[in-house]
């Protein structure tokens, strides 16, 4: 599988719940490479890519945080809008349904984190399109 691990963390919208998580990670010198938050008034999901996902998951679960680990596609593209929109179009044009996506910059390039509805299909399409996929870098 050409995927990377993503952590999804249940966040209560209580003062300090995000800060508690971030400082637990930085205390152990775990670097956050990408983060996205989806939330309502009551709760949210924090999705994280860190420098050491296994260690981060164990650490957070130890302090009583609910953590889910799953696989996502990480596509490395040129850091411009044209490349971004071309990539998304070729995925969706080939029938890939995207549940959510977020991006971050790494070594001068843009990395797209994509969670498709059907991972197997998305991997096939991405390979066929010749996308540069990052595999678990830890």
């Amino acid at each position: 599988m050409k995927t990377i691990k993503q952590l999804s963390i249940f966040l209560e919208n209580r003062q300090g719940s995000l800060k508690r998580i971030l400082s637990a990670l930085s205390d152990q010198n775990i670097e956050i490479q990408a983060a996205s938050v989806a939330d309502t008034n009551d709760y949210g999901i924090l999705r994280l890519i860190t420098s050491n996902q296994t260690k981060a998951a164990a650490l957070l679960s130890d302090i009583g945080v609910l953590v889910n680990v799953n696989e996502v596609l990480a596509i490395s593209i040129e850091d411009n809008v044209a490349a971004f929109s071309a990539t998304i179009s070729s995925l969706t044009d080939n029938g890939v349904v995207i549940n959510y996506l977020y991006t971050f910059s790494k070594d001068g390039r843009l990395v797209l984190i994509v969670r498709p509805a059907d991972m197997e299909k998305a991997e096939l399409v991405a390979s066929a399109q010749g996308f540069q996929l990052i595999q678990g870098w830890e």
Binding site: Q6, S8, I9, F10, L11, E12, R14, S17, A38, T40, D42, Y43, I45, R47, G64, V65, L66, V67, N68, N70, N99, Y100, R115
Partner: protein, 433 residues
Amino acid sequence: MERKYWEEEIETMPRRQLEKLQVERLRKTVEIAMGSKFYAPIFRERGITPESINSVEDIKRFPFTTKNDLRSTYPFGIASVPLQKVIRLHSSSGTTGNPTVILHTRRDIDEWADAMARSMYATGLRDTDIIQNTSGYGMFTGGLGIQYAAERLGAMTVPAAAGNSLRQFKFIQDFGTTALHCIPSYATRLAAVFKEQGVDPRDTTVRIMIIGAEPHSEAQRQRIEELWGCKAYNNFGMSEMCGPGVAIECQEQNGMHIWEDNYIVEILDPVTLEPVPEGELGELVLTTLNREAMPLFRYRTRDLTRILPGECPCGRTHRRLQRFQGRSDDMMIVKGVNIFPIQIEKILMQFPELASDFLITLETVGDNDEMTVQVELAKATDDFQLLDNLRREIARRLKDEILLTPKVQLVGKGVIPQSDGKAVRVKDLRQNH
């Protein structure tokens, strides 16, 4: 051949004979309680004497005793014997006002150990078992009460006491513990500790769990049995009656046999205080028949239950109480609807996505009552839609049960407050409540 009962004669006594025994013991109890500064004047006023007791029906001549009576006579005002005959005191802390105190003579302690040993035997526990007790050894009767009973049974008893889950984990494995006494929420918490340590609780030697001291649903029992791969038996005790050992489920797991040689059982309408028709839900009211230091007459337990009809296949003749359906003073009236927390728990248990703790908050918003139910997620997900659907589905199923739609709030671990290791179920912040 191994005997089937701890005390066959008493446990299988024909009802007629059992009632005769109750009348005899009620007379004896009245005689003892004439030594109580609290009961003596009441008896005089109502003409209650040992000789005037002719049938179990005479219990209606007695007034009720309430927790308030215990508070207002704190600490020794109800004692029926000189304090010199008292060898132990248990106390439960009150959140308001005085705590309550229950006194025991040597005979009381002895009879109590015997009743609880009888209860343990009914669940299949034997002297070959290793019983680990996770209750606090202090004023709470679940510690010493279980200890004495397990020793009476002849089992090897591990007085692990409350808390320190890693130590419980180690003891269970090192000693080959075959039975645990714990509150139901701790059974699930301890199972989680095992899993965190990479051990499936099903792989331990634990075969029987005695659970009690906390209301729980049938679904919660089943979850405990699945988690541990064991049998879990509901055990009813209350310190006012002695402690654990008042009633227990036999291996049929269909209702708790209440030991009627030790108690007169009444099920009353909590408002009119008249008996409910046989088999209907009402408040459990108990009279002790085998205690000396502090007999109590018609004690209002506030627990709601019913008598299960028919005979139990196990052969015991003592009647069975249904799992408690809540407390008569827990009932919430929200927008004119009567609701018990156990109804909410029953629904929440149907969701594998949830852990077992929850909190109901009642507030006044404008002129209306608002109910919020906080539920604890069992695991995280990356799927936002899933959480939203879950929340909607919980609200929908709750509405089917309680006829109004509460606000449902998902929370993570450790948010729902605990007190004395028990989850707090209801927080009523309404004005005029």
